[in-house]
Each structure stands twice: as structure tokens, then as C-alpha cells.
């Protein structure tokens, strides 16, 4: 099979779409988190850290309770707590948001690594715990092609798309969303109309904690059933890129995450299909990154952040 045939063959297989969705799901959640925070004007490059702490706490809660749903709840709590730290210093104390986020990434990885020993008796990776069960769509079973994609899929995948729709609705169709956008674009103007800039920003940042925690929980109790020290493996940063590529819009972020997921799936599949030397297979891993660069520079071009993104708001 030559490369073109292989690419076309990939596109024609259900597994391609399945892998794409699996790879995109954590990115969608985390990128949505980024959107929530930045739309209100607080940058959040700590997504990686929140994902990590979310993934870890999810496993810890599941480990103690045996119930992965409580694990998810734990992840959300932990994600919100970490996000709150970011919000508190960024909003209340006008801290440099990039420094604060960098610190939180360190704290998240220190904390999760450190707590593993006392909780599980060993470091590096946790024990295996129960996973959130997959959704099986019985009626899908006999549908050709789609049946094989959706026969059995993590509920997180569906939740991710629901989250996209809800986020879009919230940000573009509700009074709260209007205020969020106003606060991210021109906080002073919102302030003069009696909108509480601080509250809205807290909401945005805390929501990013919730969503990034979902992303982390998907990785740990959604797919693998355990937490490993290096868990998000840089996915938080890729999500950040997806958020920008999607122009700070939930739907755009979703497309960007799907694009990345698709190129990742393509890489993985090509490796399984093509008969090329190992060095070349290793280099195929470059595909998602190269494709993203080509898309951002060739087709998307300039994206525009909320005007007050990253600018602390101070009264007087």
C-alpha cells in the first residue's frame, strides 16, 4: 500500500474515528476549560496541572470509595481548588497569570507524586481502580460502520460534546455569557454597568478547573483505570493550542481538538498499516504537530484573543 492508499484506507475504517474521538476528548474538555477562563480575561496555562491533579484525585477517590463517579466528583473538587488558587491571586491580587499558572503546574506534579507513596504505598503509578463504565449503545450494534465506532465508548466522549454545546449556549446565549464576554473584552465597561467583574472572572476560572478536571479524569478513570506520574503528557499544552486555534470559541476549540485527534489517529493507524522501517514509523509521530502548524498558518491565520485576556482588572 502506498501512503495515499493508506491514508484513504484509514479514513474508511471505523477505528480511525474511534481513535480520533478518544484522542480529542481530553483536549476538548481542557480546551473548553481554557475558553471559559480566557473569555473572562484570565489566561490559564495551568490546564496541564489541573488535568494532572484531576486525574490523580479521581483515582484516589475511586480507590477509597470504590465508586468511580465519586472519583469524578473528587477530581472536580480538586480541579476547582487548584483553579481557585489561580483565580484568587490573579483576580484579587493582580498576580502575573503566567507565573501563577506555571507555579500551579509544579505544585500539581509535586503533590500528586508526593501523595502517591502514603496513599498507595508506592510511587510512580497508582493501583488500578474501577473505571467509569463505557456506554454501550445496543441499537447501534447492527448499524454498519457507525456501530463499530459507537458500540462501546466512554461516556466522557459524549460528555465532551455535550459540554461543547452547553458551553456555547452558556457563553453566547445567556446573560451570564454576555457578561463573561464583556468582562473579558472590556472589564471597565462591564464594571460601570454594575457587573461584578471579579465574580464573573472567578466563575470563568473555576469552570476551567471543572472542565480540565474532566479531562484529567477521562485519562485516569475514563480509559486507563490508574494514574501515572506523567499522566497528561503535555496534553494540557496541546489543549491550550487548540483553544487558540479555535479562536477562544467552544465550537472552534472542538474542531481544533478534533483536528489534532484525527492527525494523531492517522499517525497511529499509518504505523499499523504501512510497511516502512522503524525509524520512519517513529517519525510518523510528528504528523499531528506538523499538521497543526500547517493548518494554523495555512488556513486559520490570525486568531484574536479577548482584548483583556491576561490583564488584571484593578479598580481606581
Amino acid at each position: 500500500m502506498n501512503i495515499f492508499q493508506a491514508v484513504f484506507y484509514s479514513f474508511s475504517t471505523p477505528i480511525f474515528y474511534k481513535l480520533m474521538l478518544m484522542s480529542a476528548t481530553p483536549l476538548i474538555f481542557a480546551a473548553l476549560g481554557g475558553v471559559f477562563s480566557e473569555v473572562t480575561g484570565v489566561t490559564n496555562i495551568a490546564l496541564e496541572g489541573i488535568m494532572k491533579i484531576g486525574a490523580f484525585t479521581a483515582v484516589v477517590f475511586t480507590f477509597y470509595t470504590g465508586n468511580p463517579w465519586l472519583g469524578l466528583l473528587g477530581a472536580i473538587i480538586a480541579g476547582v481548588m487548584l483553579a481557585w488558587l489561580h483565580a484568587y491571586v490573579s483576580i484579587r491580587w493582580s498576580a502575573d497569570q503566567i507565573v501563577s499558572a506555571t507555579a500551579l503546574i509544579l505544585i500539581a506534579s509535586g503533590l500528586s507524586a508526593f501523595l502517591m507513596e502514603p496513599i498507595f504505598g508506592h510511587s510512580g503509578q497508582t493501583d488500578f481502580v474501577a473505571k467509569i463504565p463505557k456506554v454501550k449503545l445496543a441499537f447501534m450494534k447492527d448499524v454498519p460502520f457507525f456501530g463499530q465506532i459507537f458500540d462501546e465508548m466512554s461516556i466522557f466522549v459524549y460528555l465532551a460534546f455535550i459540554a461543547v454545546a452547553l458551553s456555547w449556549f452558556l457563553i453566547y446565549k445567556t446573560p451570564l455569557g454576555l457578561r463573561m464576554r464583556a468582562v473579558g473584552e472590556n472589564p471597565k465597561s462591564a464594571d460601570t454597568l454594575g457587573v461584578n467583574v471579579f465574580k464573573i472572572r472567578y466563575f470563568g476560572v473555576l469552570m476551567s478547573g471543572v472542565l480540565a478536571a474532566f479531562a484529567g479524569a477521562y485519562l485516569s478513570i475514563g480509559e486507563l483505570g490508574q494514574f501515572q506520574e506523567n499522566m497528561p503528557s503535555g496534553k494540557g499544552f496541546i489543549a491550550l493550542a487548540a483553544m487558540i486555534l479555535g479562536n477562544w470559541n467552544p465550537v472552534g476549540a472542538m474542531w481544533a481538538a478534533l483536528l489534532f485527534g484525527a492527525s494523531d489517529a492517522l499517525n497511529i493507524q499509518l504505523q499499523s498499516i504501512l510497511d516502512i522501517p522503524p525509524e520512519m514509523k517513529a517519525l510518523l509521530n510528528l504528523l499531528p504537530f506538523v499538521i497543526t502548524i500547517i493548518v494554523v498558518s495555512g488556513f486559520v491565520g490570525k486568531t484574536r484573543p479577548p482584548a483583556a485576556d491576561g490583564v488584571p482588572y484593578e479598580k481606581e
Partner: protein, 514 residues
């Protein structure tokens, strides 16, 4: 407002100010840049908390924790620098913070309807679905006013609302103010334009250096007296320019086409010439292509079609730097955005544009000695206050920032200079100064293109005037051969020939009937 004191970290902005407004009147506040007018109003609006002093609304003592409280107390404010969210629509901006809801959902339909109704009721025409960034400033101003009315404000504060308006728009605004007054609303009006203040107000409060220095009824005073009260000295309100024969042609524009940010034709095939030592005024309502024209002539915007000849050379495709190398100067209309780096100290802003050339730089290294000396000289010569080269320019008042910009451009010895809205937002003293400098350039045989919405300004400074409407030139006139009415018609889109023809017809009657 009683005994208001507002202390900023470095400035005492309000020093025991007592300020009383009667219900249902139009009350003006005037004062130099930095006199403390905006600060006072911001406290009334709950944005700032007074260091000491009390605020009474309709006889009741109030303490505002934020604008929300003030809004509830019936106060609305249109801020000096617009408080609009560029990426939202007009309707969204107006209802922000008190949105109509339908269950959980933001009811955009109702918002649009309510805004439309309000705008029709007060004759405040706005396009409810346009984004703020796409509408002209005049409409933005109306949006700001609608914002306050929408919230049911009884007391309206208008902080320099006319600074960016054309005469027609100002007239419209006054109509609205009168209507609001009839509705029983109270208006506080801040302006640097004394004739406006005279026209619209019942009472006038004058502020100087944080204190109230006077309080008069409009009918008991005149513009000159007000000016003197404000500045504390005699001011020349209208400059006289000398008789002068212009020299050779310096600039020749032929069939110029330029696009705007939305990629629509903003300048549509205009042609003109400017001679040395001549001021060509460009009048017109904002948003008719003046901004794009200015940017095209200074290299900031691509010229799509046409020729731009300067001193006999075709410079149509030259970059900003190449144009500056040829001694073409630029005083931009938006000084905060285009004229200076706010964070840079004055001495740096005073060389921006020639910073890479001798004597300021040599072999890629800045010569700080020369740069400082330059700043010292210019600050002294142009009377920039405070007279300190190391202060970030952003920390100066608007008037002094403009002085820095003018000082720089003048010191670069231009042969051709493009000047846009040079006195926007400045107090009378500062305006006097700027006008003098422009005429000085004319004396020095510089070709000047002056874009301004202030008809007075254009009329008093220009040798010739062109009027722009929708990217085209409606006609060219001499200031002393044209009436304000004629200019107004041209700005509204009537061609000069047509106006003349009509006048002829009107005066001469219908030849056939005779």
C-alpha cells in the same frame, strides 16, 4: 456633593469640592485638562470612593459601593473614554448588566425591541445589530446615552460627549439633551467647547486645579469670561493667520483608492495637490474615509490604486520608514494608540520615527546623551509639563501628551505633515497652543494636510478646504468664500457644483418662468 476630597497616590484631584445641581437643569462643568472634573463625576457614579466628603442625591445621603449602587440611585454616566465592548452588538452593550431574560436564556429579541423603542422615542438612531467596532463614533456616543436611559437614569452625566462629534451630531445631541430635560431629567455636562456650554447650560461650574473656582448662570456670562476663569489668563480663542503665497507643489494625489479594515473601498478615487507653505484642510463627518486617507499618505495602509507624488517622486508604494526618511511627518488622530509608546519615557517618545538615525543613534547604538539633550530642549521649547524627560509619556495629561507628539514631529523638520484631529479633548489653553504650532509650520513652508472634524479649526487654519463624503471629495473651497451652511451640505453628501447651481437657481429664479 459636599466637601469632596479625592486623593490619588500622587495627586490631590479634588480638594474640598462642593458641587450642587438642581433637579431638571442642565449643569455644565468646565476646567482645564486635569482639573478634576472626571474624577468628581466618577465619585458621583460610584466608580471611585471619595477620600472624604458626602454625596446627597435628591436630598438623601448616599454611599456608593460601586456603579451598581449609583445606577440604582438613578444616576447614569457617559464616560469621557467610551465604555463599550467592541466585539458585542449595540443592543448587547446597552442591556449588559440588566439583560432581559426568558427563563435562563438571554432574550436578545426583547433586548433589540426595547432598544429600538427607546432609540426611536429619543431620536437616538442606532443600528441595534451592528458590532461596536464597526460603527462610527457618533453612533457609539448615542449607544452610551441609550445605556443610561435604558437603566432609567434620572441624573445623566455626560463627560466630554462632544469631543468626537461633528457639529451636526453635536446639534442632534443638544436636541436630545433638551428632550431629556423636558422629560424631567437632570443633566451634568462636561465640555471644553465654551460655545457649547453657553448654548446648552442653565448653570456652569468652573474647576481649576482640583478646586471649584466659580459658579455662574449661563445667561450671566460669555465664552471669553469663562475661558479666562478656567485658565486664569487671557486666551485667544481664534487665531489669525498671515497672508502668504504658497510655494511649489509638494504633494500630488491622483485618483487614490484605499480600502478599510473590512476590505471595503474607503477612499474612492480622490485627487488633490498641496503646495509648500499651504494648509489643506479636510472636513467631513468622521468615517468618511479621512482615517484611511491619512493612513495611506503616511504608509500605514496600502494604496490600492492611484498615484501619490511627493516632491516629484512617486512614493505610492513606500513604507512608513521610507516616507519618514523623506521628511513626511504625522500627527495621528488617536494619540494613545498611534502616536506614542505610553510606557516609554518622554525622551524616547520624542525620537520615535527617527530613533535609528544620527544623531540619536550611531552604528545601531542609541546615543543617550543626545537623546536626553533633545528631550530637554524640546520639553522646554514646547512647554511640556511636568518638565521631566524621564516620566513615561502615558502619565502625562492628554494635552501634554499632544505637546510631546507635536514637539517630536516639528523637531523632525517635516516638509509635508499629515495632522489629524490635533485638538481632540484638549482644553482651550492647549488648543490655542496647538493652533499656533500648526501655523508656525505653515510659516516654515511646510505643506500641511489638516484633517479635523472641528469646522472652526479647519476654517481658521486652512488655506483651502476639501470636504470628504463616503470616500469622495464633494468639493474644494476657500475658507473665506464659503458659508458654514455650504460646508454642512457638502459634509452631508451634496456636491459643491450642485449646491452652487441650486443657489444660483434660488437667487436668480427660474429662467423659464421669467
Amino acid at each position: 456633593m459636599k466637601d469632596i476630597v479625592k486623593q490619588f497616590p500622587k495627586v490631590l484631584a479634588n480638594d474640598h469640592v462642593n458641587f450642587l445641581v438642581k433637579k431638571g437643569e442642565v449643569h455644565s462643568i468646565i476646567g482645564e485638562n486635569g482639573a478634576g472634573k472626571s474624577t468628581l463625576m466618577n465619585q458621583l457614579y460610584g466608580l471611585y470612593t471619595p477620600t472624604s466628603g458626602d454625596i446627597y442625591i435628591f436630598g438623601e445621603k448616599k454611599v456608593f459601593k460601586g456603579p451598581g449602587d449609583a445606577i440604582r440611585a438613578g444616576i447614569g454616566m457617559v464616560h469621557q473614554h467610551f465604555m463599550l465592548v467592541d466585539t458585542l452588538t449595540v443592543a448587547e452593550n446597552i442591556v449588559l448588566g440588566s439583560e432581559p431574560k426568558n427563563g435562563m436564556v438571554f432574550d436578545l429579541k426583547r433586548a433589540r425591541k426595547e432598544v429600538k423603542e427607546l432609540s426611536e422615542r429619543y431620536g437616538l438612531f442606532v443600528d441595534v445589530d451592528a458590532k461596536i467596532e464597526d460603527i462610527p463614533v457618533g453612533m457609539q456616543q448615542r449607544v452610551e446615552i441609550l445605556k443610561t436611559i435604558y437603566r432609567g437614569a434620572e441624573i445623566l452625566i455626560l463627560d466630554e460627549p462632544t469631543a468626537v462629534l461633528t457639529p451636526q451630531e453635536t446639534e442632534e445631541l443638544f436636541g436630545i439633551i433638551r428632550k431629556l430635560k423636558e422629560d424631567g431629567k437632570t443633566i451634568i455636562f462636561i465640555s471644553h467647547k465654551l460655545h457649547e456650554v453657553m448654548e446648552i447650560s442653565d448653570n456652569i461650574t468652573v474647576m481649576r486645579l482640583g478646586k471649584v473656582t466659580g459658579n455662574v448662570a449661563a445667561k450671566d456670562t460669555n465664552a471669553r469670561e469663562l475661558a479666562n476663569m478656567m485658565v486664569g489668563r487671557e486666551v485667544v480663542l481664534r487665531v489669525e493667520k498671515s497672508e502668504k503665497t504658497p510655494g511649489n507643489i509638494a504633494v500630488e494625489i491622483d485618483n487614490l483608492w484605499v480600502k478599510d479594515n473590512r476590505n471595503l473601498d474607503a477612499v474612492r478615487g480622490i485627487s488633490f495637490k498641496i503646495r509648500k507653505g499651504e494648509v489643506l484642510g479636510v472636513a467631513g463627518v468622521a468615517g468618511n474615509g479621512q482615517t484611511e486617507l491619512v493612513e495611506a499618505l503616511t504608509g500605514l495602509r496600502k494604496i490600492e490604486k492611484g498615484k501619490y507624488i511627493y516632491n516629484g517622486e512617486d512614493v505610492t508604494k513606500k513604507t512608513v520608514r521610507e516616507l519618514r526618511e523623506r521628511n513626511i511627518g504625522h500627527i495621528p488622530e488617536d494619540r494613545y494608540k498611534y502616536a506614542m509608546v505610553k510606557e516609554y519615557p518622554n525622551y524616547y517618545n520624542l525620537i520615535l520615527g527617527k530613533h535609528y538615525k544620527e544623531p540619536f543613534a550611531k552604528n545601531g547604538f542609541l546615543n543617550h546623551k543626545v537623546i536626553n539633550k533633545n528631550a530637554e530642549l524640546l520639553i522646554k521649547r514646547f512647554d511640556v509639563r511636568p518638565a521631566d524627560g524621564t516620566i513615561p509619556t502615558g502619565n502625562l495629561s492628554g494635552g501634554n501628551q499632544q505637546k510631546v507628539v507635536i514637539a517630536r514631529e516639528v523637531s523632525f523638520n517635516p516638509e509635508f505633515i499629515v495632522i489629524a484631529q490635533p485638538t481632540r479633548g484638549l482644553d482651550v489653553g492647549a488648543i490655542e497652543y496647538v493652533h499656533k504650532e500648526i501655523l508656525n509650520l505653515r510659516e516654515k513652508d511646510v505643506a500641511v494636510l489638516l484633517v479635523s472634524m472641528e469646522l472652526e479649526e479647519v476654517l481658521s487654519l486652512s488655506d483651502r478646504i476639501i470636504v470628504m463624503y463616503e470616500g469622495e471629495i464633494m468639493g474644494e473651497v476657500k475658507p473665506d468664500e464659503v458659508t458654514i451652511e455650504e460646508l454642512g451640505l457638502m459634509m452631508a453628501g451634496h456636491k459643491l457644483e450642485d449646491i452652487k447651481l441650486e443657489e444660483k437657481l434660488a437667487h436668480g429664479g427660474d429662467p423659464i418662468e421669467k
